[in-house]
């Protein structure tokens, strides 16, 4: 499944569509501590988190994360939204808790 297909499934609300959405999703990653995410988030993965600040975007960009999903109704603050636009990072959001959001993606990946 590609990032584009995930976005177009409309399971999640779209905040920003980045570039390179034709990438195949490599897997799922859940973590809110940025230093751990930094060292472990796989490239091209979907990263589910409740951290919606500018540093989340910086980590996603450096790790080549395919897409961020913000869970628990979290959204991006203004600075982070600007960074998402500038760095062309795909960001989605949902009211679901982290586990349920990740499970939704997992089920799509393994459908």
């Amino acid at each position: 499944m590609t990032i584009k297909e995930l976005i177009e499934s409309h399971v999640f609300e779209t905040i920003n569509i980045g570039d390179d959405t034709e990438r195949t999703i490599s897997g799922l990653f859940c973590c809110d501590l940025l230093s751990i995410a930094m060292s472990k988030a796989p490239a091209d993965s979907v990263w589910v988190t409740v951290m919606g600040n500018i540093n989340t975007l910086a980590v996603a960009a450096l790790c080549d994360v395919g897409c961020i999903i913000l869970a628990e109704g979290v959204s991006l603050d203004e600075a982070a939204r600007t960074k998402a636009l500038q760095q062309h990072i795909s960001v989605l959001r949902t009211e679901q808790p982290i586990f349920d959001a990740a499970l939704s993606v997992y089920e799509k990946l393994h459908a």
Binding site: D32, L33, L34, S35, I36, A37, M38, S39, A43, M51, N53, I54, N55, T56, A58, V59, A61, L62, C63, D64, A79, Q87
Partner: protein
């Protein structure tokens, strides 16, 4: 050396809106140079952790980067408070980051351990009240 590229970045104190810009710029330059994704990732992680440390703990500083065909060397120099106990600071999970930093998702005590893990060589020179210089080298393979 003729094949050496030198880059310099000013890291501002307590400016989280710009933290990561130096690492991001270096990452893009290395990618354009055709450096392997694994190496770019190692450099990015080590550099970003160092950059964040300078923002959080050291009132910012200067990062000088040398790129040769064989390695990337990052020299992170600050005029912060210095590190009282390097062994303790190197322990995974040990952190002196204040609560406002933790609420941003940092302060897991992984900064220096990540820097060591992702660089092939790391040297810390620190003096209390004077500052800290961290030199990290990542070999290009």
């Amino acid at each position: 050396m003729e094949d050496t590229i030198k880059l310099e970045y000013i890291v501002s104190a307590e400016d989280f809106t710009r933290a990561g810009e130096a690492s991001s710029d270096l990452k893009n330059i290395l990618k354009q140079m055709g450096v392997s994704p694994d190496t770019v990732r190692k450099v990015s992680i080590a550099m970003y952790e160092g950059e964040i440390n300078m923002v959080i703990h050291a009132n910012g500083g200067v990062i000088t980067v040398f790129v040769t065909p064989k390695e990337v060397t990052m020299i992170l120099k600050d005029s912060g408070p210095g590190i009282p106990d390097i062994d303790k600071a190197m322990q995974a999970g040990y952190s002196t980051a204040p609560d406002n930093i933790r609420s941003l998702g940092f302060g897991a005590g992984m900064g220096l351990p990540n820097m060591k893990k992702y660089s092939d060589d790391m040297k810390i020179e620190t003096e209390l009240g004077v500052g800290t210089t961290v030199t990290m080298t990542v070999r290009i393979c």
